[in-house]
């Protein structure tokens, strides 16, 4: 075994520091959630708490606050987030993006259409916030799951389409031609052959879209005003409600809620990691 050079060791140390930089804020949140209330705002700050207090997760902290301001309290919001994210994700990926991407790659092969899709992924949320509010109001869908999911389509559909285009491009044409000769109609080819061959892309699209909907703030802020069951406020609004009302209390509960809320997306993200990188650089290096 070669002994690593001095340079390699130095780089390794640097990378460890980098990792610590990325993980430290999360670590801090984690321990804050476990800390007893009197350890949260101290000087010098406590890096290694002496005990673990689960209070922040399940019941209100020692400073009297409603149970709603703990991790468990976030559940109504999580219900909303889950329903909205799943709906928006599935509709945009399977109903809109997949057929559209296939069409653009095999049939409507126009450069400008592709550019249009790309442009649409780049539109910031703020641009259409006023019209979307009007739209939801007109359809009487404010503060509802469907209203929010509907608007989320604007965020997930173009991105999913663009992502799937790269994957469909990689399906060998000869396999589709063989299916044509075997007697399948174009729609059958799409559904029974091509769609089955792009599963990594579909997984990437679904996972990314879900994460995006889960973390989204602006539209949720505008279009909802109460959580399940009276409304459909999503998880980010649970957090912000803390911050706006009590800026210096219940940090422990807040931290616990934060951890609780982060977990689904982190798990999904790790799982999607291998699909993600491939999808985003598809074609980029093949040239």
């Amino acid at each position: 075994m070669k002994k690593p050079s001095a340079l390699a060791t130095a780089v390794f140390v640097l990378l460890v520091l980098v990792c610590l930089f990325y993980l430290f804020p999360l670590y801090w949140t984690l321990i804050t959630s476990f800390k007893f209330n009197d350890q949260i705002f101290t000087y010098p700050p406590v890096f290694f708490p002496s005990g673990i207090d689960f209070a922040n997760f399940f019941q209100s902290s020692s400073v009297a606050h409603a149970t709603s301001q703990t991790a468990i309290g976030s559940i109504p919001w999580m219900v909303d987030s889950t329903v909205v994210a799943i709906t928006a994700t599935l509709v945009s990926t399977f109903l809109i993006a997949a057929p559209a991407a296939y069409s653009l790659v095999r049939f409507l092969k126009n450069v400008w259409l592709g550019r249009l899709i790309l442009f649409m992924t780049m539109i910031p949320e703020v641009v259409f916030m006023v019209p979307f509010f009007t739209l939801d109001a007109q359809l009487n869908l404010l503060n509802s799951w469907w209203g929010l999911a509907l608007v989320y389509l604007s965020l997930t559909a173009p991105f999913a389409t663009w992502l799937m285009m790269g994957f469909f491009n990689d399906v060998p044409k000869t396999v589709e031609e063989a299916a044509e000769i075997d007697g399948l109609s174009p729609y059958q080819i799409f559904y029974r052959i091509s769609l089955r061959l792009v599963t990594p892309g579909l997984v990437a699209a679904v996972l990314l879209s879900f994460i995006f909907c889960w973390n989204e703030l602006l539209y949720a802020l505008i279009l909802t005003y109460s959580p399940f069951p009276t409304g459909s406020e999503t998880v980010p609004l649970f957090i912000t409600s803390f911050l706006i009302t009590d800026k210096s209390f219940a940090w422990g509960g807040l931290a616990a809620a934060g951890i609780f809320i982060m977990l689904p997306t982190i798990v999904m993200g790790i799982f999607a990691q291998k699909y993600l990188a491939r999808g985003l650089t598809l074609g980029a290096v093949k040239g």
């Binding site: 396999v175 299916a179 044509e180 007697g183 059958q188």
Partner: protein
């Protein structure tokens, strides 16, 4: 019924934009023939096959399959089957489903489908692979699955696009024999595309040689070999290729002679008057070479040993002649040698048109 699987190509032209890939092509393929489209890459042979299949649209002309005009019909309606160069098996399905799909699409019952699939799998010796996925089987096995999928629905015409080029040399030879036998057993009109002239001559009943979008010649393999109509076909068919030499044929008295910068050759009775630019063609096995004797003098530039047969290339001046010998040659590079030929075995091609001029003694 014989008429059912004839394929007729009538005055077919195909353009991609301004690029003419096929130019007024005419072909008549009889039922049950093993017909080969032979040509170098870019000659249009694959395009022609795809037009017959219905995967591309015709620019002008017509195609008839079994007496029906099929212009504009989808591949399904034409009832053709095709095997692609890379087999194009469905990667996400197992072998059984791959073969069964054409039947399922046509609404066949589960039992009838299973029966037919097993039958075809038996014929192609792939019964044991039915549960496997394409990526789990070898190249040769994949090819047979592709064949099975094509044959399972009793198509009218069987189209193959260079299906042997992805196999290694030994498998290729086995596959050739296998395909030939299979075709005879099943008795189906087959159109086979290849750039390999050895494949063509070993398997075909008739071959159409394509050169840059036009048909150069259509004949059975032997005729193609011994009586090529033009210089392109002469050079393309046969390996190693026919020796082709440019020069001038001149009549002198009752006889005529061939001249080029390096040698003169006396030939027999004159075939025409005056003088003509020609290309002389003679096959390696029609020449002899020896250290002494009569003939054309030159020096050996290359010797290739192929086991029972050898090829010796002799440069007569600047003109190379490749000669076939049996056994081991006693010549080495640099030796002086004499190339002998019989005037009767020589073919002549017009310099400008490339067509064969009535050759002597054939």
């Amino acid at each position: 019924m014989k008429g059912l699987s004839e394929v007729i190509v009538e005055d077919l032209t195909k353009k991609f934009g301004s690029n003419t890939v096929l130019d007024h092509v005419n072909l008549k393929i009889s039922a049950k023939e093993y017909f080969v489209l032979l040509g170098p890459s870019g000659s249009g042979k694959t395009t022609l096959l795809r037009l017959i299949a219905g995967l591309e649209e015709i620019t002008s002309g017509a195609i008839y399959i079994g007496g029906r005009k099929v212009n504009g019909m989808s591949p399904k309606e034409r009832n053709v089957a095709m095997v692609f160069q890379n087999y194009a098996l469905y990667p996400h399905m197992n072998v059984f489903d791959n073969i069964a799909l054409p039947l399922r699409v046509r609404g066949k019952s589960k039992d009838a489908t299973a029966r037919k699939v097993n039958e075809v799998a038996e014929t192609l010796h792939i019964r044991g692979l039915l549960e496997k996925k394409p990526k789990q089987i070898s190249g040769g096995e994949q090819q047979r699955v592709a064949l099975a999928r094509a044959l399972v629905r009793d198509p009218t015409v069987f189209l193959l696009d260079e299906p042997l080029s992805n196999l290694d040399a030994k498998l290729r030879v086995e596959a050739r024999a296998f395909l030939k036998k299979l075709q005879k057993e099943v008795g189906i009109t087959t159109i086979f595309v290849t750039h390999d002239q050895a494949e063509a001559t070993t398997m075909a009943t008739r071959i159409a040689v394509l050169n840059r979008g036009s048909i150069a010649q259509v004949d059975d393999p032997y005729t193609l070999y011994s009586r090529p109509n033009d210089v392109f076909t002469a050079g393309f068919v046969g390996s190693p290729g026919m020796n082709l030499v440019r020069g001038v044929a001149r009549r002198s008295g009752e006889e005529w002679e061939f001249h080029n910068d390096d040698f003169d050759l006396k030939l027999g009775k004159a075939a025409f008057d005056g003088e003509k630019g020609v290309t002389l063609g003679v096959r390696p096995e029609q020449l002899t070479v020896a250290k002494g004797g009569s003939g054309l003098a030159g020096s050996v530039s290359n010797v290739e040993l192929l086991g029972s047969v050898s090829y010796v290339t002799v440069n007569v001046g600047k003109t190379p002649f490749t000669v076939q010998l049996t056994g081991r040659p006693e010549l080495e590079i640099g030796d002086r040698a004499m190339v002998g030929l019989r005037p009767e075995s020589v073919l002549f091609f017009d310099e400008s048109s490339g067509e064969r001029i009535g050759a002597q003694g054939t």
